[in-house]
């Protein structure tokens, strides 16, 4: 392919991205790792748009590639990994080809900030939290001295820490887990980003604190006009915060749709299985569903649909050909042959049918959030 056609193709993607106000447009992203002398195909051709101002949740089990996927956005892929092919368009440039550390440092934090999973370990134990916030302020907002101090105090009260003037002089070990996560969020905000990535922001926290932190993130998203990306395997969190959900399995987004569509109209058998195994959706005495088998070995080439071997509803074609996206609605698409017009009609499992019934009653939709909160 000549350079000209490449450029033309890039332009169309760029235009696409502009038209649907995507802040990040990922196209056919393939990421591989060198591991124990073998090649691991961690991300297998992901395409996904992240829209301006939305709250997107990426869900999937451990090892499905959620974290690897978003690490590409800040150029912090582990050293043994590389982008094999594909594009990540952000602010007019292809991050997949960006090698300049200086440009990356402006993007990291300044454009795309991140809240990490474990607040107990993600702060430097020897520096005061004020220092750690001020470091970000200096890097991305050029603030120092008194101005930085005032802004630090402002950020700390923003994230719900009282007595900011005193607290900023304290060290991380003087804060509880929930408070430390607030500090981590304050650091992310100090970078003044456009996009905030929250990598399992509540996994390490206890349930009551989880709800507070999620509420805080929601409030800050509105206040600072952020686009937020949540990575989680907790569907309760998802129901709480997400406008849109992308379900990942074996290094690919197998279904993506609005929160309602994924919960009430799921199409991919993996999404069915995932939802069926939620305890709060099980009915009375019914045995809780559990997905049998293990995720596929990504060292090997995967034939057909990656989920097929664990899929009780798998068709023969699932073992042979990888399904493309089938569009269910303009916002909803899934990679499953079940959506092909030629496929037999297959009834989703009981729990999903109940959800679909619920989805038809408008008042239940409002109730959804409470039921998820109750978890």
């Amino acid at each position: 392919m000549g350079q000209k056609t490449d450029a033309a193709k890039n332009d169309t993607i760029k235009n696409d991205a502009l038209q649907n106000d995507a802040v990040i447009s990922v196209r056919d992203l393939n990421v591989k790792f060198h591991l124990r002398g073998q090649r691991l195909h961690a991300l297998r051709g992901i395409s996904l748009d992240i829209h301006q101002g939305e709250s997107l949740a990426i869900v999937g089990e451990s090892g499905s590639g959620k974290s690897v996927f978003i690490k590409n956005f800040i150029g912090l892929l582990d050293k043994n990994g590389w982008i094999d092919s594909g594009e990540i368009w952000f602010a007019g440039q292809d991050l997949a080809k960006l090698k300049d550390e200086k440009v990356w440092r402006k993007i990291r934090g300044g454009k795309i900030a991140m809240v990490m999973q474990d607040p107990m370990t993600s702060l430097n134990p020897l520096k005061t939290i004020g220092w750690q916030i001020a470091e970000a302020l200096k890097l991305h907002q050029g603030l120092a001295g008194e101005a930085a101090k005032n802004k630090t105090a402002e950020l700390l009260s923003d994230v719900g820490i009282s007595l900011p003037e005193t607290r900023m002089k304290q060290y991380p070990h003087e804060f509880s887990g929930g408070m430390r996560q607030r500090v981590v969020i304050a650091i992310a905000l100090a970078c003044n980003p456009e996009i905030l990535i929250c990598d399992e922001p509540t996994t390490a926290l206890d349930v009551t604190i989880q709800a507070q932190i999620l509420q805080l993130l929601k409030d800050l998203k509105e206040k600072h006009h952020l686009t937020t990306i949540y990575i989680t395997h907790d569907l309760g969190v998802v129901a709480n915060v997400a406008d849109r959900i992308a379900v990942m399995y074996a290094g690919d987004v197998i279904e993506v749709g609005t929160c309602e569509e994924i919960f009430f109209q799921p199409k991919h058998p993996y999404t069915w299985s995932l939802l069926s195994s939620l305890p709060q959706l099980a009915a009375g005495e019914e045995e809780l569903y559990c997905i049998s088998g293990t995720p596929p070995n990504l060292f090997q080439t995967i034939q057909g649909d990656a989920f097929a071997p664990r899929n009780p509803w798998a068709l023969q074609v699932d073992f042979l050909y990888r399904p493309p996206y089938f569009e269910v609605s303009p916002t909803h698409k899934a990679k499953t042959w079940l959506l092909d017009p030629r496929a037999p009609k297959i009834e989703p499992p009981a729990a999903i049918r109940r959800m679909m019934e619920l989805g038809k009653q408008p008042q239940a939709r409002a109730g959804r959030k409470e039921s998820a909160d109750a978890k």
């Binding site: 800040i74 912090l76 550390e101 440092r105 402006k106 993007i107 990291r108 934090g109 300044g110 900030a113 991140m114 990490m116 474990d118 370990t121 993600s122 702060l123 430097n124 134990p125 020897l126 520096k127 470091e135 970000a136 890097l139 991305h140 304290q170 060290y171 070990h173 003087e174 981590v184 650091i187 970078c191």
Partner: protein, 314 residues
């Protein structure tokens, strides 16, 4: 903090008291002849008894111990019996310690100035050429018997660079080779541990957060990783520096340096028990002081370490 220091000091004194008393009593269980030096075999039984009585060695052990401590508190370390019979121990030490201390402090300064940056550099360039060269150096120094590289240094230092072979007080250059010799082992040790602590910290989550914040690689190393990696080093550095008073037996011997190197072994072999007691007291005191200073510095560097419970309400 003052209360803590006093408590630690009292604890140290108690430890010292136990160590010295035990050594003192054990030495009294050795054959008495040892206190009289080599010539005792030719002495008559009467002379032996009178000499022993003169030194107070026929008194009951608790009485002897009491006398020892009484003299100690008056600043009297006693006199040597065999090593330099009749000469005050304090004078022997006063002539030897400054020599070893100068050599030791200079080599420690060199070791810290070279070893710690070397370890940090190796961690930063992990798996690259600097790391491999550094590892080669560490393995060489740690694996070879020190005597071999000391000898090589002296051989090539004196022949190729025509540096002085023998130490002389008036010529500071004559200290160069001994200082390098003594510091090599410490350089390797400091580099090894610094590299390890740096690597431990480089894999911490806070480093990932700093990266995600957009902090440059250099700043992450300098402002975040180095300081964290230095905390465990701070614990054993004071001890290492203080124990240089004990001297280096081989290097001092090689360059004819009149220091304390091997003094304890020497006096044990020659059964100069009065000197053994004093040296044990001195070296134990240094060991204990080193540990205390290590804890103190670590507490200064790491806000999580509280030497005093509830001193400031963090």
């Amino acid at each position: 903090m003052l209360k803590y220091t006093i408590r630690r000091l009292l604890g140290a004194l108690l430890s010292l008291f136990i160590i010295v008393s035990v050594i003192f009593v054990l030495l009294r269980f050795m054959p008495m002849e040892g206190f009289l030096g080599a010539g005792y075999e030719k002495m008559s039984e009467d002379t032996v008894q009178s000499l022993l009585a003169e030194k107070g060695l026929l008194d009951p052990i608790p009485v002897q111990l009491f006398h020892f401590y009484k003299n100690l508190f008056q600043g009297d370390l006693g006199t040597s019996w065999v090593y330099r019979a009749g000469y005050p121990i304090s004078k022997i030490l006063a002539s030897k310690i400054p020599v070893s201390l100068r050599l030791g402090l200079l080599s420690q300064a060199l070791a810290i100035a070279v070893g710690i940056p070397l370890g940090a550099l190796m961690a930063h360039a992990r798996g690259k050429i600097w790391d491999k060269l550094g590892t080669g150096f560490i393995v060489l120094v740690e694996a070879l018997p020190a005597a071999i590289y000391h000898l090589f240094l002296q051989l090539y230092g004196t022949s190729l660079l025509s540096l002085p072979l023998v130490f002389s007080k008036s010529n500071p250059v004559s200290l160069l080779l001994p200082v390098i010799s003594v510091s090599l082992g410490s350089i390797a040790g400091y580099a090894l541990w610094m590299r390890r602590y740096m690597l431990d910290n480089m894999n911490m989550d806070y480093v990932k957060l700093a990266q995600a914040k957009g902090v440059s690689g250099r700043d992450i190393m300098m402002k975040h990783v180095f300081r964290n990696a230095f905390v465990p080093m701070a614990q054993f550095l004071p001890g290492s520096i203080l124990t240089t008073i004990i001297g280096s037996i081989y290097v001092e011997h090689l360059y004819s340096i009149p220091g304390t190197g091997g003094l304890l072994i020497d006096v044990i072999q020659r059964q100069d028990n009065a000197m053994v007691q004093v040296l044990v007291l001195l070296y134990s005191a240094i060991g204990i002081a080193g540990m205390f200073l290590g804890d103190f510095f670590m507490g200064l560097l790491d806000p999580r370490i509280q030497l005093v419970k509830g001193e400031n309400n963090r």
